[in-house]
Amino acid sequence: MKKIIAIIVLLNGVFSACKDNFEPLVTSTVTIKAKYPNTYSEEFASGTTITFTSIADGSVKTAVTSSTGEAIFKDALPGNYNISASRSLTESEAQTLTGISKAITLNGVVNAVAVIGVQNPTFQVSLQGSAVGNLLIKEVYYTGSSTVSGGTYFSDQFVEIYNNSTDTLYLDNLCIADINGNSGLINPTSLPTPFNIDKDNSYANNIWRIPGTGKQRPLAPGKSIIIAQDGVNHKDASLNPNSPVDLSKADWETFNQRPDNRDVDAPDVPNLERVYFTGGFDWLMSVFGPSLVIFRADFATLEQVPIPGAAATIAPRIKIPNAVIIDGVEFLKDGSSSTFKRLPVALDAGFSFADNTYNKQSLRRKVNTTINGRRVLQDNNNSTADFEKIASPTPRGF
């Protein structure tokens, strides 16, 4: 019996020695400092809402910075986190900080910061922003629909552009572009766009332009235009009766003329000018979520940049400076895809997403207020806050 006990004790020692234990779990206190742009009269931003999101499980904590611009998050578990910050300045606050009396929303993002248990780290998030108002992307229907036979249908995609100002604006030479990069973890090897290190520019796959000489395409306040992938009635029995939209009355379509005529021109809807194109037979926005910008620029002045790491046969992308972009929106595959953001934070501090592909859902900008029947849409340069997910698209409607 003693021998048996001795053997058990010996085995216990052997087995215990085999175990390669990690250290006990330790949490951290994380301090996040919000910083104004360098041109502002103050360095750190009090009253800034900080969102601290665990990449692992998606859990979100929020806090507002103190008078020293600091927000403190206690008991943070080891792991990687995304930090976002938002600060809306009133006219008087903007006057104090910048000398310009114009309301503005500042945003900042720092992605994938590492919190290691033995440290109590401090991170700094720099706020950036631009003035509110102007032309806006009101709605993007990109998810597509399923067919009667259970197939997929994406030709009914459209983008709606809205005049959110109090003045008539002219759309002549307005360009629309989709930005390079995956929408999320489409497959296990999907990577974020390599351009995301450039915070001052966006890199377009394709660019389309509204033709005009300057004053030919007026858009009244509170009015919008529809840009369809294909300007036809998609509900037609020969197309997809399950489609939620009739785009035969769209203002524009993106006709991609090809030798094989795979993209059919809808005769009743005028075509946008195809300025630059790297896609397939049509302007297919990613059904997982596109990133779009509207801007004005002389295309000849825009730099063409190869995709880092891509083969030489891959067409370059078009570098669009933030300064010429009027509005940008970011839609990703889902709520966990933040690291795949393509637009600089200064243009869009967040992102929105649909529940799935081919489910008819559309992403529409929220209405901030209504003045004399004119809807003023919300524009915080943050798609997370500005857009809502709706079950079915509402071209020209709400």
Binding site: K3, F15, C18, I55, P78, G184, L185, P188
Partner: protein, 501 residues
């Protein structure tokens, strides 16, 4: 719980096969001796020690058998990652043979299983201990196919004192959920189990054995689906990562080492058997194929043993069996670089048995009282979750057998039990979707007192001229929860038909 039922089913099948084969292959029909092992009226050192060298210590009859059976489980008294209902089909064949003193025991088993309404789990078995589990919130139906083979060989005695034995087990299986994202698994177990016994004297034997089990499970998800899945990668008992997946691969691989010792003393008036074991299991979970990323390491250490004291003889006797097992498991998380979760389990089982036979009338009356004490302790360090449940209870079985006709035997074994939760506590200071959806319901499962009743019936029909014995068995066990509105019951029904030749 499914494993417990499966284990019971397997044990019953093997025992029936062994016992009835003994009768069949005896030159004279010895129905009473056929049932000795099944009734635990003689010590089965092979089962108690798991040492294959003990196979050739006793003179077993040589036999073969074929068994077909079906098993149904239904009811909501389940853990949250178990199927609401399960239907199983088993086909098994095997036998025992002695050639020139070498003992061979083999079997081949095919197992088909249909699971209905299985939620969360996206792997083969979420409750094997390793907490690094793939899960999604969908509920679906699974189909599984498994094949298991076992070869046990024991040498004759050499050097007048030594016997050696080796067990080789191989199990391979696959299964998939029929609904999206259509998770799929392939699983393989390979076990080598050597052992030796040493005869100290005519009535005393000691033995030492070992076991090494290599396991591998490969998982795929999304490859045959049309939709994306929000995949929860569980990393503890509440800790998780979640991410959308179109498709993905996972692999679990590891090894399980075990050693055991036993001492067996046979006396004219009593028989004493003492055994102990220690086991160590290491597993690694990896995701990805081209770029493999370890996600967690799991370690489990088990100690245990049993003591059996038996007095009297096979006609009139009594026995006491005390079995104890301590299990400790740890999850080391790669993201935290720290231990994310742990669990421990203490199980104490006692069997008090008394029997009396009336040989002339071919009847048996056998009572077995089986008190049990079990403590379960789960801790998750990140979500500050901890639950401890202690359960005390007992079952009583009455075994009655009668020879109805010269070649027909009937056995009835009603059972009744009650298991009471004597202490329980649950703390969750950082609740999240997983602690609420999986851990709290799991705690509720453990913290439920329940009654258990059912019965086992066997009809044996002998064809002595053909050398064949037919057995028809029926087992029904019901558990009814008495103190928890979340659950009602769980019912198990097993039907088997065996031919022993």
């Amino acid at each position: 719980m499914l494993k417990i039922y499966s284990y019971k089913l397997k044990t019953i099948i093997v025992l029936i096969a062994n016992l009835l084969a003994i009768n069949t292959f005896g030159q004279t029909l010895k129905q009473d001796s056929l049932h000795l092992l099944r009734d635990n009226r003689i010590l089965n050192t092979f089962v108690l020690s798991t040492n294959p060298a003990t196979l050739s210590q006793k003179i077993y009859p040589q036999y073969g058998y074929v068994n077909v059976g079906a098993n149904s489980l239904i009811g909501n008294f389940i853990r949250p990652m178990e199927a609401n209902s399960t239907f199983q089909i088993n086909v098994e064949t095997g036998g025992f043979k002695v050639l020139k003193g070498w003992a061979y025991n083999v079997f081949f088993n095919y197992h088909k299983q249909f699971d209905h309404d299985l939620a969360w789990s996206g792997i083969a078995n979420a409750y094997e201990g390793n907490p690094f589990v793939w899960a999604d919130s969908s509920v679906g139906n699974w189909e599984r196919d498994h094949i298991k083979t076992s070869i046990n060989v024991a040498t004759p005695i050499v050097f007048k004192k030594l016997r050696a034995g080796l067990t080789l087990n191989y199990e391979v299986g696959s299964g998939a959920r029929l609904s999206e994202p259509k998770p799929f698994y392939r699983q393989r177990y390979l076990t080598l189990q050597p052992g030796v016994t040493w005869t100290l004297s005519q009535k005393k034997t000691i033995g030492i054995g070992g076991k090494i089990n290599f396991l591998q499970e490969e998982n795929e998800l999304g490859f045959f689906g049309n939709s994306n899945v929000l995949l929860y990668r569980l990393r503890g008992f509440g800790t998780f990562s979640k991410a959308p997946f179109v498709s993905g691969e996972r692999k679990r691989k590891g090894a399980d080492l075990q050693t055991n010792v036993h001492y067996h003393h046979y006396h004219n008036d009593y028989e004493l058997f003492i055994s102990a074991f220690a086991a160590h299991r290491e597993e690694e979970v990896i995701e990805g194929v081209a770029i493999q990323q370890p996600t967690g390491y799991f370690t489990e250490i088990k100690y245990g043993g049993n003591t059996v004291l038996q007095k009297g003889n096979t006609q009139n006797g009594k026995s006491v069996t005390i079995a104890y097992q301590l299990k400790n498991g740890y999850a080391d998380d790669v993201i935290f670089r720290a231990e994310s979760a742990s669990y421990s389990e203490h199980i104490l089982n006692v069997n008090l048995s008394v029997w009396n036979t009336k040989l002339l009338k071919k009847t048996l009356l056998h009572f077995t009282l089986s008190p049990a004490l079990r403590t379960t302790d789960y801790t998750d360090h990140a979500t500050l979750t901890k639950f401890i449940v202690t359960n005390l209870g007992s079952s009583l079985k009455v075994n009655w057998r009668k020879q109805l006709l010269p070649n027909v035997n009937l056995q009835l074994q009603p059972q009744l039990g009650y298991f009471h939760v004597i202490s329980n506590s649950f703390i969750n200071q950082r609740p999240n979707v997983i602690t609420q959806s999986l851990i709290l319901p799991d705690y509720n499962f453990f913290a439920s007192s329940f009654t258990q009743f059912g019965g086992f019936a066997v009809l044996e029909v002998n064809q002595p001229m053909a050398g064949i014995l037919h057995t028809f068995s029926f087992l029904n066990v019901n558990r009814f929860v008495v103190n928890n509105p979340f659950f009602s019951n769980r019912n198990s029904v097993q039907i088997n038909y065996s031919i022993i030749f």
